[in-house]
Symmetry: C2
Subunit: 942 residues, 2 copies
Amino acid sequence: MATATKSPAKGAAAKFAADKQWVFLFSDEKGVAKRTKVWGEVRDLLGGKGAGLFDMTRKGVPVPPGFTLSTEVCDEFVKLGNKISPAAWEQALAAVKVVEKQTGKTFGGGKKGIRPLLVSVRSGARESMPGMMETVLNVGLNDTTVTEMAEITKNERFAYDSYRRLVMMFGATVLGIDDEKFDEPMDHLKHERGVKLDTELTTEDLKALVTSFKAVIKSETGKDFPQDVYAQLRECAMAVFRSATGHKAKTYAKQMGWKATLPTAVNVCTMVFGNMGDDCATGVAFTRDPSTGDKVMLGEYLINAQGEDVVAGIRTPQPIAQMAKDMPKAYKQFMAVAGRLEKEYQNMQDVEFTIEQGTLYMLQTRNGKRTARAAIKTAVDMAKEKLITKEEAIKRVTPTDVDFLLHPQFDDEARKAAKKDGRMFANGVNASPGAAVGVLAFDADLAEKWGHEGKAVILLRPETKPDDVHGMVASKGILTARGGATSHAAVVARQFGIPCVCGADELQVDMTARTVTSTKTNITLKEGDWVSLDGAKGEAMVGQIPMVVPKFEEQADLVTLLKWADDVSATNTRKDEAGKPRRGLQVWANADYPKDAERARAFGARGIGLCRTEHMFFEETRLPIVQGMILATDDATRNKALDQLLPFQRNDFIGLFKAMTGLPVIIRLIDPPLHEFLPGMDELVKTVATRQTQSRYGELTADAKKELAEAETMLAAVTQLHEQNPMMGLRGIRLGIMLPGLIQMQVRAIFEAACDAKKEGFEPMPEVMIPLTGHVNELKHVQPVLEKVAKQVMTEKGVKVKYKFGTMIEIPRAAVTADEIAGMAEFFSFGTNDLTQMTYGYSRDDAERGFLLKYVEAGILPSNPFQKLDRDGVGQLVQMAVNKGRATRPALEVGICGEHGGEPSSVAFCYDAGLNYVSCSPFRVPIARLAAAHAALGVGAK
Amino acid sequence: MATATKSPAKGAAAKFAADKQWVFLFSDEKGVAKRTKVWGEVRDLLGGKGAGLFDMTRKGVPVPPGFTLSTEVCDEFVKLGNKISPAAWEQALAAVKVVEKQTGKTFGGGKKGIRPLLVSVRSGARESMPGMMETVLNVGLNDTTVTEMAEITKNERFAYDSYRRLVMMFGATVLGIDDEKFDEPMDHLKHERGVKLDTELTTEDLKALVTSFKAVIKSETGKDFPQDVYAQLRECAMAVFRSATGHKAKTYAKQMGWKATLPTAVNVCTMVFGNMGDDCATGVAFTRDPSTGDKVMLGEYLINAQGEDVVAGIRTPQPIAQMAKDMPKAYKQFMAVAGRLEKEYQNMQDVEFTIEQGTLYMLQTRNGKRTARAAIKTAVDMAKEKLITKEEAIKRVTPTDVDFLLHPQFDDEARKAAKKDGRMFANGVNASPGAAVGVLAFDADLAEKWGHEGKAVILLRPETKPDDVHGMVASKGILTARGGATSHAAVVARQFGIPCVCGADELQVDMTARTVTSTKTNITLKEGDWVSLDGAKGEAMVGQIPMVVPKFEEQADLVTLLKWADDVSATNTRKDEAGKPRRGLQVWANADYPKDAERARAFGARGIGLCRTEHMFFEETRLPIVQGMILATDDATRNKALDQLLPFQRNDFIGLFKAMTGLPVIIRLIDPPLHEFLPGMDELVKTVATRQTQSRYGELTADAKKELAEAETMLAAVTQLHEQNPMMGLRGIRLGIMLPGLIQMQVRAIFEAACDAKKEGFEPMPEVMIPLTGHVNELKHVQPVLEKVAKQVMTEKGVKVKYKFGTMIEIPRAAVTADEIAGMAEFFSFGTNDLTQMTYGYSRDDAERGFLLKYVEAGILPSNPFQKLDRDGVGQLVQMAVNKGRATRPALEVGICGEHGGEPSSVAFCYDAGLNYVSCSPFRVPIARLAAAHAALGVGAK
């Protein structure tokens, strides 16, 4: 076979010019240059795979000749109602002629002594969609060319092996016949011959399979397998285009959050054969370890096999390092080419190659999918290697990657104990890291059903196929009996960050009994049993192993990356509309207890944006005092309770101030309605009704009588405090106005704690936050009194601390009148949970159960506004409040402390809106730090 | 006594010029002209009474000479810490000298053969505050001048009568001694003499009273009654100024909704005497009947009396017409002067006069307070008489006047029946019209207490005093035993629109036993008993008489006035900021039933702005079907229930369309959460717990078992539908999206009804309103389906009707994204109840009970935002929505259908915001029509 030349024959080029160019030879540098300026446009035009083949050809990497039907053909295909445009097809036929010249072979054969031209037909969208698109190999074989092939290669077995593959793939992929229809005659034959592997079948067996497979096609479709090789090519291309808007593609697109499916290109590539004998091989490899990010070539290959054998997981392949021994020359050449590709693309590459009779061909290169850990390590390493900039390294890591790295892992002690107890169930390939605990589901449909019901599911399959994706994404973990680190299950699992153990070949799955047995441990589990999967270690254990959170400080690469991220988000890379540098965005944390504050600080938080004081009231020792305060009918009793609470609160705060010394700590005064501290009304009604009825039968014990009396008293109090809509009721500053002693006690506790901490040498920076303000007069009524308490405490203690008084902006009216409110408040903190609640009129307690999730599902809302800040609605109010607030008080400190503070697209909004900080839960601080840098770099989710 | 000359003596004028002018002679045209340009400024400077005296003097009306200490002296008084500025006092002393010259008399007496100069000292703020300010007569009498007076007038009795009055008024008003301290010696004396009236006392009696009163002053204050006449004058003026910021003034100001009390001027006026003999008299009159508005002079006078005797209600005065017989010359002169004053002031005048020895003096003229009925009648009459313009007539009537006229009155049949049954209790003067039912309270404090507790109270007093005002305004009605139509009780009652019957002299009040007995009917009632008062008829009846609503159509003057008002609000008298005429504002009504719609149309509504369809679901025959629909677990059952509801809804709508033929009818699709149609959860929990407990004792009857089973089923359904915050839950369009069959049924019913009505010759104009939209996608999801149903029905019926689809704007997010929403909606209707609720985060069900009223009381909120639309907050959102909505759809129809639609200041806001209509309850339509005209004229409440 001839190597690829750099340009097509002149005649063909002239023909292309006659119409819009739909088809591009891999070697058509000029044609592609005419239509594209940057690499992104090349990918848009040719798809990822086509662009890779084109680019490798241009770079002189050995690639078999071929051509690409561009993504525009796909768009046109959809427009024409699933038809290939005649002009495009004419260009494709011309391209075949060029490839014939480039290879010296003929499509459809008939050239004496020369192997007929066979081609592969593969999809390739802009973004890879693993398993979603269809591939057909060996197109060009028919009853005639197969004999030519056999004669010329002097390898009849190879020719028929290739032919039976074509017929099967054509039947399954192009004609949509169920795989199992082809498995049946294959299994029957293997059983008859008493063999396990395809390679053990004889030439006659393969010939018989071709006949059987053709018969399947005939009986399933009523049509014969096409002998016309151009008809084969055309039908394959159409199947690819159809699949681009098919059900699976749509599911995947939805899963990825895309608005629509992507158009795909069709790549037609000269077949090279890894299955022509033992000097042939096929393999896939990553230039760095996609699981750990280690700088080591990681891949697998199979001698005498075609590409599909490696990824399908049917035969277990050899590690790539083995190739150095088996095929030293090809190995050396491969390593050189792969290394060069990584350097040129400045990214870890995922490559496919075939060695045909000792000659290396690269069939694909693309940026490799990787785990979160690998994404971070490769980004940091490459920046250190000066292959990429630090900014580029930051861009390459997603918030999800960071999130994933901070996911819980199994407690090592518990894991060891489980092993000792004989609860180790099975070992397999550590295909996708992470810990997962769930109940076994034996098929994808059930996994999806249970998953949607909120169950934690581990999907168990002999091996996974594209059909299983809907169940995989609904599962917490995936366990398979067959397939390696590059099998379908492994690739998909890594992509979605789902822990996966695959190729645990000791497992025997009984789909009828719905049981799975490990032949090694002799444990049998049934569907619904609990299993714990460790994707990083490749272990499956029986039962629920407890998990722990990995230590952030020990993840050196992440720590490094986030330091870079902080630099970026502080230095205002972006400009606003007026051309001024945007405000830097810090990340603070919500923390109620000193231990949370310490964790937050370790995670890089630059302040506490929200300490909820009332959480402390729920503690067992305090709740009775709190209830006493609420039920008090006179000031003396109430004040006594408040006096008892004061030292508790002071102690809570002092720990916070010490942990956050030198950094601001925003403490919110009591927020929830008082009834939250009392028993539920329904429960009390029930108790009273039951006991009262019993008493009519004279059956009440002394204890029961006491219970009844207490319940009646409590019910009266609860009824008094009962509200139809407590979220819009007596809470926040309203409560502070009705019970001024309560918030005065809190402010006293805050300042006593701050003064004490300062005396001990710490630097406390308290900021007192008044919740739920709706009218500036509320602040005017409350704030001066509280400031007086603060000053009084500092006088008493003889200590001065820096402090601020400010408010939450969580009521729409507060946002609309922020100019007035900023006259009193020294800082604003957006409570976007409540602000979203009020702006939408969605009760947070009810909406998700009632209608909200259905709204999202039906596309009425683009996303759940409690998760992702609604830029169009809530965002307008936030922006209005920032602008109005700063108009009154230019130095106003503005942040956000709702759940949105840790959600990347919301962080991006906060950056754009000019906030000073976002505050989120400690565990989300690292994610928010990255998201802030992304926002500053102008990338990231919207 | 000399008549007033037009300018002060030259020397005095020169003295005034030396400093800022604080004091103005009634005759000082130049001085006043220097300081004022328009009448309003004169009133500001001199107060209402002072301005009137000044203006009457200028017009040549006979007014006793005098001068005014301006309101600026009052402001200065407050600034100086309750001191009269020395410069002002110096000017006052100079003014006394001028008056001495004008009258030829001397203040302090001593001029042989000439009566000493006596003066009255009266307050006069810009707005009259009846009874709030203090008056002292006869200032200038002392032990010396009283003897001069006796000698010169040859009327010792008169002199000492005047002197005892001065001592008492000075003691009570200036020194703040309790009235009763002076009543005691008076009552004692009368009892001793066996007389009832003051006039029956002898000269010696009066001398003795002077001595007794002086002793009271000495014993109460430790000081003597001042013999220095200038000290008298000074202390009187100071008392007036003190009272301007005193407790009573503050109460009144608050009642009137003013921000602060008004500064008052002090008027010092030469005393003329109605009590010098039978050729003397004093009286008050209105140039038209202040109760009915009839064009007839209405007043009362007393021969040989001082002014206070008439208004205090101590002696029952004669009607003014009687004067024609008693004093024909003075009467003729008075009628001419009064008629001229009305013409000059273009308004009904409230005048005070005194006839001293046959000579008429006018002591006061001001625009007369009047009842609502009189306000409307005089305004319309004067416009017809061309005395004022129609616009001026509209301005003179307040929304409260209109409201009052539509207040319920007693059902005539019920009233007659009560009379027949012997339940007529007492008759008195019809002092302030209107019907009131309440329980008797015998003092103002109790009336206030009960009123604040929400009880309907009738205040019963022998006679009322300024001290009683706090109890009067808290009462539904007022009943007194003494005093006429111009008594304190009558004036205050009319001012505040409180029905009042006064001067029912058959009543004997026993304040110890807390009972009242009618000597005529021999009925005795005790405190707390129910009474019904008819203020228009002057009747008090025992018990609670049922009330009916007066017929709007029969109130010809109001109908006329509102027609003029409609012309004004339609013709855009005002311009907007860009100088373009503002949009006209129509008044529509909220009506659920045909009878409401008919009433609304009769009241002048130009459309139905809100028909709440769900109200129809609560009717007894329908509720079980609605519950069946809610509890349905399958579509078939649910659809069956919907099919049953359809004809009910269609019948409801057809009546509406007929009643409103040719006018738009906005029908809102179902809004409330479903649980509102089911029993309450607490009740169910109680039933289940009780019955379950009973069943453990084996005591359940078959019925009880059935009840338990039903309650359990219902509880399960209610629990399923239970929401923490139903106001922000599954309701409105959300419900429509979850139960599409329900709203499709409603739309079908609407269009079937519309088509049927059209076939009968009516012109239905349905507008379908979708409630609670928060995101445009909700409309995109729902509206096209509903429009399809509409078209389908019209096709089925072969009829076309004009229609619109639109939405409520009641969620803040809808306001913020109104530009998007207007892409779908053809009209907006602001649901300002919900919009206020969400914008403030105040639960309508809870806030008023919880904290809202306290907020208003403490001044944290200027007013209850559910009553008066909050311009600063909610108003901003409304304006934003109007602007954004019209930017997308210039012809967008925009209105408001919340409770605010009938509240005048909110109507003014709607006009300013450019709305097309306000929709309110039918009874408030007339009020809103007037308020709309006021807005167009640029007057009215903000």
